[in-house]
Symmetry: C2
Subunit: 297 residues, 2 copies
Amino acid sequence: MSLTPMISTQPGFTGGILDRADQVRSDPTLLAEAFADDRARRLLLDGLDPVADGDALATELLPRYAALDDYILLGIDDRGPLFVALDPDVPHGGTFSPAAWALADMLPPSEVALYGGARSLVDWHARHRFCAACGAPTAPEKGGWSRRCGRCRSEHFPRVDPVTIMLAELGDRVLVGRQPRYPAGRYSALAGFVEPGETVEEAVARELWEEAGIRVRNVRYVMSQPWPFPSSLMIACMAEAEDDVLTIDETELEHAMWVDAAGIRAAMAGAPDAPFTAPPPMAIAHHLFVHWLAERG
Amino acid sequence: MSLTPMISTQPGFTGGILDRADQVRSDPTLLAEAFADDRARRLLLDGLDPVADGDALATELLPRYAALDDYILLGIDDRGPLFVALDPDVPHGGTFSPAAWALADMLPPSEVALYGGARSLVDWHARHRFCAACGAPTAPEKGGWSRRCGRCRSEHFPRVDPVTIMLAELGDRVLVGRQPRYPAGRYSALAGFVEPGETVEEAVARELWEEAGIRVRNVRYVMSQPWPFPSSLMIACMAEAEDDVLTIDETELEHAMWVDAAGIRAAMAGAPDAPFTAPPPMAIAHHLFVHWLAERG
């Protein structure tokens, strides 16, 4: 195995190309045919971590003793149907694993995207084996794209949790913040979960008010990214701050500061005198900085 | 009670102005103080339906016998803290209720937004009384913004399910579709849930491929909307179709068709000879049509 880190021109986990074959999942006959296909393979995982085979994810033919109820149908490609095994014993996938990061940095974007989706699904099944409505055990259905309660018959679907991540700008400067868990010197864009009852734009404004005490207007969507720790949808935005006086919520942020374009350029270039260490290309925040610099010309 | 329908210039359930007081939820002392506040009120609901008082939602002072664990803190406004009662017996909130629609059409946007958020939260608690990880009962924490398992201590947060809703355009025409459950003559934008492992843009492209058999490029975000049936985040986009040949997935759509700008204008004006009946201003699809017509000048 000889791998070279790739230069990311897009956030990690984006760029999936697998046909998810939605029509197969919900048709028991088609699903059984896909599972019985001689070419049907399974994606290998090490717990929730990826396993590489050259510059691709490792797969193998489905074992003969396999049972459909133990597998998720990820999709169908030129080589046939692709599944991944359920694993009720995986560790909680909410924490970023260094092994996942390192290997994901070495694989083509479509492979990283495939891994991210599989990881989120395997984690979701492991963490959702019981019915939230009545407490009884649930079982997978629809090729692993839902679970059904054996008692109250409630159907449950995999979670995707929308998260806003944003740069507030004021003239020549943008706001960056630091969470206590970050590596030394690292700053990034501020972020927070979208709550029931609000738009993306309202969530951005609320997060900046709660965490940094600033009011913003003209929130603009930039791009999005699936983030499989365990299953977020990162929604990246820009916003215009009305003033630069910070009131930091210290339960969320260790520090926050305004940085000008020269400082952002230095951080992105990894300059020794940069005001902070930028997030890596895997993170959508990296691409928000790129976007902001490009918009300024 | 005398109410006049309001002209909506924004999608329903957007435009919330209540301070959600995030810092109070997670601080037991502040939360207890808010609950003990003489001015603390509760929002009244009829099951999951709204209750009006003039042109606002009905509220009343918290009853003396109230227990904090039975309430969600919605936020704090000039009149004091605002709560809503948990209700384990409400009907499932996944279906749009005509009463909610009718009344929501009469209230100012900020009141409709407040109702939407409260409805999603009350529904979520009623449907999530047990731990999905181990099956044991859970109890509310953080002013109703999470639930904690009494056995395995897992913490569970309210769901927000991102949904893409999109217009594919090709020259002078856009693609509209009809689900079997729609009122007679109604067509709207196509829509579908974002899945684990994909971006907003990838979800848009996948849905249009799955439901209508068309490939698209240049997916562009337009706006978003919380949709509390039970707790979606609608993410509205435009996309450019590569051709106009439709292959309709009849499990999802009853019919789909391309409509030119004159036809969309007629539908939005409610003209008797319009090719379809447009969705009402409450729906974000209505505003996607407005946006598309405005872009064309």
